[in-house]
Each structure stands twice: as C-alpha cells, then as structure tokens.
Symmetry: C2
Subunit: 474 residues, 2 copies
Amino acid sequence: MTPQPAAAPEPSLVATPVPEAVGPGGPGRGAVPPALVTDLYELTMAAAYQADGIEHEATFELFVRSLPPQRRFLLAAGLDDALDGLASWRFDGDDIAYLASLGMFPRQFLDRLQGLRFTGDVWAVPEGEVVFAGEPLVRVTAPLVEAQLVETWLLNRIASQTMLASKAARVALACGDRSFVDFSARRDHGVDAAMAAARAAWMCGAAGTSLVAAGRRFGIPLTGTMAHSFVMSYDDERDAFRAYARCFPHGVVLLIDTYDTLEGARHAVEVANELAAEGITLAAVRLDSGDLGALAREVRAILDDGGLGGVRILASGDLDEHRVAALLAGGAPIDAFGVGTQLGTSADAPTLGAVYKLVEDADGPKVKLASGKVTLPGPKQVWRLDGRDVLSLDHEEVPGGRPLLAPAMVGGRRTGVESLDRIRERAVAALDALPPALRSLDDADEPLWPVEVSPGLDRLVARVHAGLPGGGGS
Amino acid sequence: MTPQPAAAPEPSLVATPVPEAVGPGGPGRGAVPPALVTDLYELTMAAAYQADGIEHEATFELFVRSLPPQRRFLLAAGLDDALDGLASWRFDGDDIAYLASLGMFPRQFLDRLQGLRFTGDVWAVPEGEVVFAGEPLVRVTAPLVEAQLVETWLLNRIASQTMLASKAARVALACGDRSFVDFSARRDHGVDAAMAAARAAWMCGAAGTSLVAAGRRFGIPLTGTMAHSFVMSYDDERDAFRAYARCFPHGVVLLIDTYDTLEGARHAVEVANELAAEGITLAAVRLDSGDLGALAREVRAILDDGGLGGVRILASGDLDEHRVAALLAGGAPIDAFGVGTQLGTSADAPTLGAVYKLVEDADGPKVKLASGKVTLPGPKQVWRLDGRDVLSLDHEEVPGGRPLLAPAMVGGRRTGVESLDRIRERAVAALDALPPALRSLDDADEPLWPVEVSPGLDRLVARVHAGLPGGGGS
C-alpha cells in the first residue's frame, strides 16, 4: 500500500497529477539525460510555440547578472559539458512515454520531441577566460523551440562550474607559489559537483585532486595521505606510519595530528630515519587541525632538527583563500594546502545569478523591462581591452580589442573540443595576468573592471527603449 | 600536441604522475561508478591494511560535528542513494586498469579490488527524521578495507542531501499552510544536486518541482508557468497569454511581470474573461520581480475587481524562508511560493561538517583526540525522548526512548527500500511535531535540543580517556 502524501499537492499549481510512485531511485542513480534536465516550463513554452506556429529562430544569451561582493571576477567554466549535452540532446522513447503520461502535451508536440535534435549555433567564451557581470558566456541561436528547451541545462552546467572555477581561482591566487590540492569530494553537493570541483581546481593550477573518479575521467594527478582512522587502527602511531610507508615507499605523506601534532612530528622523524635504510623517503607531513600557523612552525623545527629539512608540510582543515592568505602572510612554513569544503561548495558565494535571456527573434532585438531586471538587446560580443571590456553588437568591431566569444557549435555540431590542458593553460595565464585590483581577495561593493557599451549597442538600447523600429519589448 | 600544464604539479605531494590527457569528458558525462567516488587515501589506506594483514572488522559512524547557526535541526536524507551505491559497489576492469596505471598499488590489492563487494552491516536513521549534531546518521560495520573505502561516497551522498532536506524543511516551516514548489534546477551545483533538491523539497511537503528529470525518476508532480522570453516572443503580452492558455487550458498560470506587473494583471483578467467562453480557466498568476508584498496586494485587488477571486497568486524571485516568512507576516496575499536558488544550494549554510569516524575495531572502542575534534567511542544508538535525545552504546536500552537507528543493510544486502511517499510522510509529520524552539527560523548560537550521553557511554568515554582496557587512542 502506498501511503498518501501527508501534504496534498496544490492541484491548480501543479500541472501534472501525482503519479504512482516509480520507486525511490535516488538522485545519484545513473546518468540523467540532458534533455530531461529541463524545467517543465521549457516544454510547455515549446509546445505553445509549436501550437501557435511560431517556428522562427531566436537568440538567447547566458550571463551573470551581477557578481557577489565576494567575487571580483569570474572564470568561465562548464562549456565542454554544456556543449556535450547539446550535441547528444534527445528524448528517448521512455522519456516521451513519461511526458505523454502527464496528459498535458499535444500529441504533435510529443511526436516532434521524439525526433528533436539541437541544430543551433553556439558562440561562447572559452573555459578558463576571466569574465564579468553582464557579459554573455554563451550565445545560442536556434529555432525557438530548441533554444528554449536547452535553457535549464545550460544554466545548470555553466553557472555551477563557473562558480566553482571562480572560487578555485581565488584559492590559487592566495596560494601564490605554494601548491594546493582539491580535497572537497566528501562535502560537495553531489557527485557531479565533486567532479566539477576537481576539474575547476585543476584548471586553476591545482597540483591534483583526491577524487579518484576525477583522476580517471580528466587525467588529473591524484593525491592523498591517510585518515585519522588509519592511525587509530594501530596501537602505536609509529606502527601506522611504518605500515603506510612500506606500502607506498615513494613520496610518503604522513598525517601527524591524530593524537598530538608535535608528538606526531617526532614520530614521523623517528620512522623516517628508521626507514631510510629501506630506501623509503618521507615527502611531507600533514596537519589537519589546531592552530596551523603555530603548529607548522613547531613541526618545521622538529623536522629540521631531525635531519628532515627537505620534508614538506601540507596543511588542511576547513581552509579557504582567506585562511591560506593569512597563514602565508604570517610566515607559516606551509608548502602546500589541501582545500576542501570551501572550494568545492564555493561556500562564501554558493550561487551565481546566471540568467538566459532572449535578445533577438524574428521581430528584431528584444529586451526585458521587469523591475530590476533590465537586459541589453541584440546578439552581443565581448571585447577585452587594456583595463576594460566593451560589450558590442555581434557584428561590430571594437578596435584594439580581443573578442572573447568564439564559435563553439555550428548547426548543432561542435567546432572542436579543447583539451583540459589547454583550458588550464589559459586559466593559469589569465590569473597570472590579473591586475592588482582584481587579485585582491577582499569583498568589493562595486565592479572593479569597467564593462562599457559600444556605440552601436548604445544606439540599439535607445531605439528599443523608445519603441522604435528594430526594438521590441515596448 | 598536448601543451604542458602551465603549473607543474608538485611531485612529492601528488601520488600519481600526470597521465596522458584522457579527453575533456565533462563532469556531467555519464554516471560515475560509486566505487570511484572515493578519495585516493581510502584506497591507499585499504592497500596498507591489506599489506599489513589487517583484516578485522571495524565500525565507523557518520555524523555532523556541529550545526551551522542557521540550522536548529537537520532532516536526515540521502540514505536510499547511499545504500544503493553500497549494494552495487564494484570496480570494473577499466577501473582496475586505471588504478594499475597509477603505478602505486600492489598487484594483490588490485586483484582484491576486482572482486570486492560491500559485505557489511549498516544501521541508519531513516530519511525524513529530525536529527542533531553528534548523532550518528549511519553506522557501518564491515571488514576494515570495505568500511574504509566507502567513506567518501557515504559522506558525499548523506551530507549533501541532508543539507538540502534541512533547508527545504525551513522553507516548509516558513510557508505554513501556503504551498511551495522547487524551482532550483538552474542554479544547483550540478545535475545530481538538482535531482536531490527536488527530492528534498518533495520530502518536506512541496507541492511539486519544475525539474522534469526529477518528476520522471521520483514521481514528483511537475509545475511550471512560462518564462519572460515567452511573453517577449509575442508583440502583445495578451497574445502570449492567449497562446499559452489555449495550449494548456487546465489550470493556467500566467507570468505577469515581464513589462509591468499591474498592467500584466489587467491583461490576465482581460484574457481570462475572454477565454472563459472556451472553457479555459486561469488558475494563478505569477510575480517574479519587484516588491512582491506590495505587488501581490495590488494584483489581488485587480484580480478580485475583474471577477477572478478564485485565481491565486504564485510568487518567486530569489525567495528563501526568511523572505517567505516576512511576506506572510506582512499579510501578503500570496498563495504559493516558487523557491529556487536559496533552497537548491542551501545558500545560507551550503556545507555540513559531516565526518565518518572509526569508533570501534578489533581492539575495542576508538576515539580521536586531535585538537577540537574529539569523538565519542563505541558503536552508538540515538534515542528520542520527550524534549531531549540520548546517545547510548548500541546495546544499551534507554527507557521511554525511541531508537532512531535501524538496520538498513545486513551482510551487504539492503533490508528494504522505503518509498519516497513513506519518507515524505515521516518528514512532514516530524516537521509538524517540532517544538517552537526548533521551528524558529532565527540563527541559534547554541544547540536548542539537548543531546545527552547515556551512563554506559559516559563510562566508556571515561575508560577510553584514562587509557584503561577497552579504550583505544591512548
């Protein structure tokens, strides 16, 4: 017997009946087809367009409305994933049967979905590029039904990964010439998020990730030490260190804070010297609790006194870019940072206000005028100049500027696939080239990088707002 | 040619070499096998245990160390997903080949992984139950290698979904007798997170979700209106309303804020009255911007004056439990709330400090003493009494209490699968029964629900800390 839900859904707000339970099927079970990663209204709108015979092309742009104060810039990410979904976009027979079971869609719309592919053009800012509020990250031109259906998918993929990369970029800035690795998998918002966090960290110059699945899928080097439970599984901390070092003799990293960090450091020295005869080399010790700055200094002294001047110190434990910066500013002799929760959830700014807006259709440029949510009309390009960006119409040239959006799909086919190495190279170079105002980790109440509007775009805005020909939304 | 990464990884901190690029393969591409959702150190520890002949059983507990101030309670979630992964736990041939390619694992360990299944016992708090800091949500007893390997997976699944359900619970409390629906998919941290958010909202009594994939997988009713772009695709807002209503004549919800909300309301009245003759009924209008409270009042008046007293008002636009509560406290005539970003990212508390700790092995109860991270030894049970919980040893009885942990897997097999309806019923009942101190949405600096320690557990803690027999970690 299936119990009734305790709170009955509101029939007039819910478009579909409460179906028979289809089994619990957890969120993590199996891949979700991109075409179903869509809000219901994308489908209802598409059906209404079709029913009304509206089949023209339309252009939508995906952009972040404003930056959170904790971010001075964004680092574009998620495009490869987003495009992969568009290239494989389809509703299979079971998907169609499910949609039919909702009893709301016209048959001819479901028939159309059955054969639907994404056939549009996509221009996009490559992954690893620095971007700012209001700048289109992705521009989609496609038959209206297709352009509409892909909205939720694109926003989910681009916004979440851009958010993660933008956070990882700050961690990389804080670390400077020290290393960092991604330890976030256990705290991220799901498996998908953990994979994206590892990839985002790697993009920004991380030395590796702890997540094995990310190592396998992306070719990212793996890193790891041991857990406190490992040390606790032996009666003596030194026995735990010996067992681990003998199993992994090259580049051993020992976790020394299970009981007492300084005693742990002395144990590490004792075991390292003892095992040197077996050809085993200690690479580093890891601190994961307490006052990391003070402990690192004391541990450094113990290691140096024990003849282990070359052994490095890895610190972890709820670190973020601010704590890393403070530790380094305080002169903490920490060589590398394991950054987890804060990186993998972008905890200080866990959302980006990304939107996907109609900017042009068969009637010309479009604009949204709702309170506080005004958009700029027309398909646009972003130009990077010295010290500023310019938003232009897509056919304008901005002398001296470098255009950021490039073709990524033509007629539903990807123009190419960038290697993650290439993306990492771009991101690391972009971070290296950041001006001081953007490198600061402090909150910013205002945008610190001017994003100007080109003369052509400015004229179009005036025309559209005046309701003149070539303008919509009057 | 594959470019060199711009920042070379630190060889001594990275256990594995930089492999040849394996292609970009985005985070969202295909399902990730649960066994690979593991930090490298789980594998290195397991290999070291095996190499050292350590094959005893061990018990680990997963709990949240402390609640963020923004949470007065947690709602357990993620168990179905977590157990599903344990039940299907395996490394396939390609996984083993990848691990072998890292050049770090002993052959006999890789051979063992090839046939490894999870054979342990799991006790867990059912999904939808209210829980507090320090209380085990999941207790795993298994051969040490297995118990260790599943850590990252369990933490990722349980912590993120418990976080989402705990946020959704607050939204449900704020809404009271009004409805809410999940609109979060586009802002969530990936597809997995979006599925979990829809499920978590439904658990807590939501009327539906906008995410089609969640509707299909979980049987959750779908809900949706239209986007501003739909309205903008027509020259006249009223034409957009007419087209949509004719395509979906039952329970039409119209978005009225694309240009001017009050004008939109008047247009909705005009179109509703015009289409009534065709048997089309307007169910609701949706506001998505501006001063929602003031607009709702004015829109209500326009609807009532237009003879649409039965048409309801749905509000959305960066809502959270605080804004919903303030709107309702101000008497806003809003009937239902679409809650997105804040719900789906748990934005005010986007992480839970969940940990997975060894509490017992062949030597007896274990404890971790690292600074600020002390754990309670021994396998435990949680008892709910009137106004307090008691943490006991697993074999203790606490008179008058209801035990929260129940067997979920025996010998690697699930004891059963709860329907999502059953989980929802439990969660909604638990929220209905919350005492006033826990219902408050205000921040709390201290725990508001006493979690006491039983006499037996208290004695064990004393023994362990004294380093007496039956205690570890001395």
